[in-house]
Subunit: 508 residues, 2 copies
């Protein structure tokens, strides 16, 4: 009894985690009930007979969670059945020419050679990634057709019926998966990357607070909750296989929503790889938050201003990227924050060169400077991530940024949980942009969120800028920043930034 209750609880949790799972279960049930009508409906049964079972079988093995996976498997199965069927009939014909004694031997040899070759080909990495299932079905169909053909005379008829039932089963899967509450792998990948950006941004924005506040006070539950919230970044560490699978499925998907057929899914993986790099650094940084070996606050305070600024600005730039990715707009507002964090880096190096840490004990120094070094790495990675997201935006032909020029029109109608957050640049240029964004950020892959974010743009009056102009300005700003950096300390500051860049490059 306890066991049953536990299962029910687990079921509720699984369903709550992603309600689309429940819908998927219903879709599979529907498809199967539909296909089994082949048996009940007399005219259909008269036509296909026992072969109707292939339709049932196809539905069971082809129907996957996302449209891309279903399409990929369906196409693999249909093509493999067709090709293997043809070859199987050929093999059967060839064997039957040789007379009744040699025929079974020849057929056995065919089956052996075909199975061995195909099985070996499945080990090729490129084949394994996309066509593994197709090869499996190829082996299966070839063996069944060529061998069972030995007994049945109407082999052509058999192959034809098998193929048409497989196609019917596959088509009903694909249609149901596309038209009944579709789950697009591409959309999932897109949301996953946006949510990963957001998760890392959250850590960086909170880092200053955590590092420079005394953590003893406050009630323990609150602290633990915050800590748990902070450690959401851990999900990014091992997301590689998930991302690759989604990208693989997404390639099969037709145009949907704002995603074209040849959407640059590879570029998503490039962004994801950089995010993982960043998460490794954050993992190391996090270990210093939890360390029992705390550096006295008065020593930390010496570097507080630039360190806080570095992490919070890097976090803000990631947040901006996450928002512009969710909205699928080109945006350069993240660049400002990247520049800000870089200038904080320079301030920090000036501060360090002033000898502010000369009287710090060596062991405390080690812990402090490691934090510094990790943050410098993260700042440099943020720049790379920003570049990579820009590349993605142009490759995916995101729209140019919608920029609200008037104030909110229906600000009262903004629902709870979403607030107008002013994102101010610290530079004194005119890039003060007000953007609607989610006040609470869920860490699960939530694709509806992305859509509503886009919807919410309709509440504000928008003006489309020529984004290139803005870009140009930024590039000038960047060059300027570099020059000023070189002028303020000719060798080290630029060196330390460049070298960290190189280090990040090389560790890719």
């Amino acid at each position: 009894m306890e066991k049953v209750r536990e299962i029910v609880r687990e079921g509720r949790r699984v369903g709550k985690e992603d309600p689309r799972r429940v819908v998927h279960a219903f879709k599979v049930g529907l498809a199967l009930a539909l296909v089994s009508s082949f048996y009940y409906y007399q005219p259909l049964y008269d036509n296909f007979g026992v072969n109707a079972m292939w339709a049932v079988m196809t539905v069971v093995v082809v129907f996957e969670f996302s449209v891309g996976a279903t399409l990929g498997k369906g196409i693999n199965r249909a093509v493999a059945t067709l090709v293997a069927g043809g070859l199987g009939i050929g093999a059967h014909h060839l064997a039957s020419l040789s007379g009744p004694t040699i025929e079974p031997i020849l057929l056995a040899i065919f089956v052996f050679v075909q199975a061995a070759l195909s099985t070996f080909v499945r080990f090729f990495p490129r084949v394994k990634a996309r066509y593994d299932y197709g090869i499996l079905i190829f082996i299966l169909t070839f063996s069944l057709i060529s061998v069972s053909g030995f007994r049945e005379d109407e082999i052509l008829d058999l192959a034809h019926k098998r193929l048409s039932t497989v196609i019917m089963g596959g088509v009903s899967c694909v249609l149901i998966s596309i038209f009944v509450c579709p789950v697009w792998a591409g959309q999932d990948l897109h949301s996953l990357i946006a949510s990963n950006l957001d998760t890392l941004s959250h850590f960086l924005q909170e880092f200053g607070e955590e590092y420079f506040e005394a953590t003893d006070d406050g009630d323990i539950k609150e602290v633990e909750k915050r800590r748990k919230n902070l450690e959401r970044y851990k999900s990014v560490l091992n997301s590689k296989s998930n991302e690759e699978a989604l990208a693989n499925f997404a390639r099969w998907e037709p145009r949907h929503g704002q995603f074209r057929f040849r959407h640059p899914w590879k570029q998503y993986l490039a962004v994801a790889a950089l995010l993982r790099q960043c998460a490794y650094r954050i993992d190391a940084l996090n270990s210093y938050l939890n360390s029992d070996f705390q550096i006295p606050m008065d020593i930390k305070k010496k570097l507080e201003e630039p360190l806080r600024r570095m992490s919070s600005e890097a976090g803000k730039s990631l947040k901006e990227m996450s928002i512009s990715l969710k909205k699928m707009t080109k945006s350069s507002s993240s660049d400002i924050h990247v520049l800000n964090s870089q200038s904080a880096c320079k301030d920090l190096s000036t501060l360090l060169k002033s000898g502010i840490l000369n009287d710090v004990e060596p062991l405390q120094l080690i812990s402090l400077t490691t934090t510094v070094s990790l943050l410098i790495d993260i700042v440099n990675l943020t720049e790379k991530i920003s570049e990579s997201v820009h590349e993605l935006a142009s490759a995916a032909r995101f729209k140019n940024k919608m920029k609200p020029t008037a104030s909110l029109k229906k600000s009262d109608s903004v629902s709870i949980g979403r607030a107008a957050v002013p994102i101010k640049s610290h530079d004194s240029d005119d890039h003060v942009v007000t953007i609607l964004c989610d006040a609470d950020v869920s860490n699960t892959v939530d694709q509806s969120r992305g859509e509503t974010s886009v919807d919410s743009c309709q509440h504000v009056a928008i003006k489309i800028d020529d984004d290139d102009l803005v870009h140009e300005k930024h590039e000038v700003g960047e060059i300027h920043a570099h020059t000023s950096c070189v002028s303020c300390d000719p060798s080290d500051a630029s060196d330390v930034l460049d070298s960290s860049n190189k280090r990040i490059n090389s560790s890719n």
Copy 2:
């Protein structure tokens, strides 16, 4: 033509990477040719008829690369077919009681409910890990039996034939995969962990050389080769999914070689997780090797002695663990190296407290101290890994260490590529042990290597020590080390070690 040549080249590469793949392909061909004899051999065909196709199908989908995966799928398939067959007959019987009009409706409802429920259950993480395939087959068989039963009268006979052909197909897969050049997932996991230990050890042993040598001289090809060799550790970063899959398969495997049925596979995953932690740190360390921002050698040299010792001793201890894992013996010789690296840590902190770095420029200091801090982390992780490997050794009931008391008897017969390497402890106790080990260490998963390592022990006269005694001695040594550390600097040195420990703990 060029395309064909490319495919052949790729095929050669894939085959060379793991020759067992070629063997596997032959095994599948063999199994299929065997099972298709159901069709050719008249008595068998008379008995099973078209149902013989289920045997072919079972072989195609169940035969996997490793014994564990094949067994897992085979058992899943057999049990699921049995249970679903029973339930399908029950459903059919129930529906047939209701009269010919309601029967198809009732059957459709059964199929719908069953498919929806089972599909949902597949999302449960624990089910997904081990029984995913079983549930798939359950849906398939239930649908086919209950629905096709609507037409056929001899449903019991059908279910019985289907089940027996499935079992025959499954049994031939399992037998061939066990008795013809078996590939054990457990052995693969074991070798993978040992090889990962070895890879990380290689980096740490070479690190001192790379960090403290001027890298400009020497020919470029040589340097690149060394660098590439050094960066083999990158394979460890993303090995998680592979390890988990192997552990999952291994649980299905029966006793083989020195692996029992309930071998502690989970403990391998625990060791692997720590190794990945260590690889993250090594990745960061590696970025400092490739950095263009090089610290002047005279500054580096100040810390050379303890840093070199820390990394090389940590590397040696990992190497020892790798060897004892490969040989499946309990061994405490790695503990000595762990202690040595810890004492180097203490020397380093004494050195740092002496103010040796007071006149170093802040930016150079950051880079240098980060290296120090990462190495301290790695040393602490090494201790954790060592503990975890010890736990594994006792949980897996490894033999006590074989210790050669005489010199090699047939040292002349030692083949090329394997050499007697004396591994000396730096402590002045009596732990000078001569162990046969591989002179070149391959980075691919090579299970034959592990076996021959064990075999090579037969060349030396061995004496089995009471390992507990040795252990006890080490524990005393360890306590002593801690005490001396406390006495030499009451707060910081022990603090910095402890805190790094905590950090590592918390980042697990």
